[in-house]
Symmetry: C2
Subunit: 475 residues, 2 copies
């Protein structure tokens, strides 16, 4: 990955990729922990960070490592099946934190109840198969993981009297809310999980039989997915993070002095959980990972609504805020968030890098660049780009592994050039225009400027540092 | 208290009153613990049981002991003020469990978040003043407690954009739900607390000034009380225990075998909290303590809705179910619940009486008889009776202390006789008919039979034992 215009971010993304690759190598026999291979933080445990932040990078750069990491989840299925049974559910309940596959989380409202991890694993499977076309993996590891997580969702959720499907009493990505009904992120991700499981069951009937999936079961997955309830606040014109969220009292940010962050060290969860205050991207992450479920207008409104509520007391936030800020047209703000994600460890921004690097934030640096400034979204066989550089960056160039071939993308302020190294032609889109890339034939396409919109505010004292790119060689 | 027709219950109510009086004596210097003075259970801690179950009995039988117990709360105000400040609220936050006034509860969703205890204390103040007319107490202890709890509620709740006042993220009496919005019991009790505080501030302007209450503050209490949101499920025609409760999935009682009770020992809270399953009377307790807020029709429908959901995994339930079963006309069922409350310790029904008696259930036996079969409700200067005996009881007679005078009540299947021992005339009502009782002049009034309604069911295996009264002398 090459970045012209900010040598510090250039160095950081290489530092990040080194740690991601180091931690991700030989993943089949052990998880990729939250601190990579670098320190004792989180006791060496792995979380949803792996599938949501690390695997998207590995899937497109070192896909074998992504497959290995998912095989580790597959190997941990017996423990997840046991855990689901212990909790009273069907299928598999993957642990919130673990080394050997068994649940190691004690504080259950932000552990056991954060069931979205099951959909996060399923999404990583779908993403890997979409990027690689690896049918062997899909039938084996993929189908094992999709089936048992779909069974979990079908038994955790339920229909109401009007036939809508609800997932009640769960915790989404934002750990300043818990035990809420119909978390939008969880419901959308669970819906995708259910649909993906039904699709592979249809595609591989023999394996479906082996797994005991009959037509009634896969139909019940599709039905639950299609009836999934997604709350929307008509009056405010935004998606509540979970049911009723936007009706709750807004945290008193004006009276929260800077030294009282992170809030979890200074305020009781009793108060945090009751109010509109967001530790880390939650609805905003849903807009990135379930991009097609939101209109451009909704994305812009939602993003601007959640910015003033999001305190970023988690390292799993800045990169996602960078991605969505870039998409909705706040390019300078996206650059600021990219800087924060990139330099979290190199500048020890949280004063805890001695415990180990923040592997999700390091991976997130790559995500902020590729999904943010190049606007990459891929899924259902489609590869979409919507590149747009912030002021200060002159060039962003990177290579993706897609279906076994290398796709080189080079973005400048005025245009993007796509070059497929070999293999079959590849359909991609550039800002909505469909292109068919032929191997060895670069295509250059113009980038039109995006209309500027008023920048949203952040909670006082929680604004990301303004990114002043360092064009020269690093100090 | 005399009961003809069931010597076992007769013995039990005396046993209960003995323990209540023993535990309640000299209450000003220490709390009345959940186990009375009899055992090490709950480490000697006191809970909301004191104000909600024990003090209603002492208020009407040994009012000085009730006043002492509330003075103990007053003495504990400094710790409660500190606790509120620590939690970020105004006023006083009384501890969920305590010996010396400091919070000793660790599991916060069923401790810290069970803020209804503050309104329970306020209600005990109002009840004591209503029964005694003790103006000195009202201005001192009473006003201290009402003011600081009202301040707490005003800061815990908030208005929505439509001006309705909500109390979000709290736990009501039922400990199989937690961190819910707009718990009906909590909201109604908080509303009464706010109104009572505003009333005494108006009545005692000098003390109000001392306490720093100005017209704006008491107006804000009245406003919050009048705007208090009380959820109601129009489609089902019942009150949800808390917002959205009736939309949640119903617990699978049919597949819960008897040996898996109490549920808290066999199922994770993650699952309990998400579903319609009630550990102990919650909405049903609201219907007893805030009787005027529900129509007779609503009471009947609500009672029948919650019976099949209520598993009585708490000793703080049977007596309340007895009271409301009697009110809505399920007299036999009320008798069954009375039997369970009465014999909990004498028959060691929960196999844990070695840890000490269940003081709330012992007090609850008296409540089941007086508020249940005599139908007593008192408040706002009104004393209402709606007596009606179940089959098997031939006579229920008891004496209440009201405004310093003894009121003797004697109920038979056909009539009730009221005799005021001395003092000023007293207005009471008998099944809705207003009576003025003159000292020394008994009045006898007929009891008309109540139309029978189909009995509601309980979760399989959780039906109360059918009460077969023992008419002879106890074995």
């Amino acid at each position: 990955m090459e970045i012209d215009g900010d040598t510090e971010v250039q160095q950081a993304v290489r530092f990040g990729l080194f740690h991601v690759l180091q931690a991700g190598a030989r993943g089949e026999s052990r998880p990729i922990p939250a601190k990579g291979l670098t320190g004792p933080g989180y006791d060496g445990h792995a979380f949803w960070d792996t599938e949501t932040f690390v695997l998207p990078v590995l899937t497109l750069t070192a896909p074998d490592a992504a497959a290995s990491a998912l095989r580790w989840r597959q190997n941990a299925l017996p423990a997840a099946l046991d855990r689901a049974a212990q909790l009273g559910f069907a299928g598999a309940a993957f642990p919130w934190r673990t080394i050997n596959g068994a649940e190691c989380s004690g504080y259950w409202p932000a552990g056991t109840a954060a069931v979205h991890i099951n959909a996060d694993i399923a999404a990583a499977v779908v993403r890997y198969v979409d990027a690689t076309g690896d049918a062997e993996f899909e039938q084996d590891t993929g189908m094992d993981l999709l089936t048992h997580t779909a069974r979990f969702w079908r038994s955790v959720g339920h229909h109401d009297a009007q036939g809508q499907f609800h997932i009640d009493g769960v915790t989404g990505p934002d750990e300043y809310s818990a035990i809420a009904d119909d978390n939008v992120y969880t419901n959308l991700m669970a819906r995708d999980n259910l649909l993906a499981a039904a699709d592979v069951a249809e595609r591989y009937p023999d394996r479906a039989r082996e797994l005991g999936i009959d037509a009634e079961e896969s139909a019940s997955w599709r039905d639950a997915a299609q009836s999934m309830y997604i709350p929307y606040d008509e009056a405010m014109g935004v998606h509540p993070q979970a049911a009723v969220f936007t009706r709750h009292q807004v945290w008193d940010f004006a009276r929260t002095s800077p030294e009282r962050y992170p809030l979890l060290l200074h305020f009781p969860y009793f108060d945090l959980y009751r109010k509109q205050v967001v530790k880390q991207a939650d609805l905003v992450l849903a807009m990135h990972l379930c991009s097609q479920d939101f209109t451009a207008e909704q994305k812009a409104r939602n993003f601007d609504y959640y910015e003033p509520l999001t305190v970023r007391d988690s390292s799993l936030s800045a990169c996602t805020q960078a991605v969505m800020a870039a998409e909705v047209g706040h390019l300078g703000l996206a650059f600021d968030y990219l800087g924060e994600a990139a330099l979290l460890d190199l500048h020890d921004l949280e004063h805890n890098t001695r415990d180990g690097v923040h592997i999700a934030s390091l991976a997130g640096t790559w995500i902020a660049l590729v999904a943010g400034f190049a606007g990459l979204r891929h899924g259902s066989g489609m590869v979409r780009f919507a590149p747009r550089l912030p002021e200060g960056l002159n060039r962003l160039a990177f290579t993706l592994m897609l279906r076994g071939n290398r796709l080189r993308v080079e973005v400048t302020p005025a245009s993007a050039t796509y070059l497929l190294a070999g293999g079959d032609p590849l359909n991609v889109s550039h800002h909505g225009t469909k292109l068919t890339l032929e191997p060895g034939k670069p295509q250059e396409h113009r980038i039109s400027p995006i209309p500027s919109r008023p920048k949203p505010s952040q909670p006082p004292g929680r604004e990301p540092a303004r990114r002043h790119p360092i064009p020269g060689p690093p100090a």
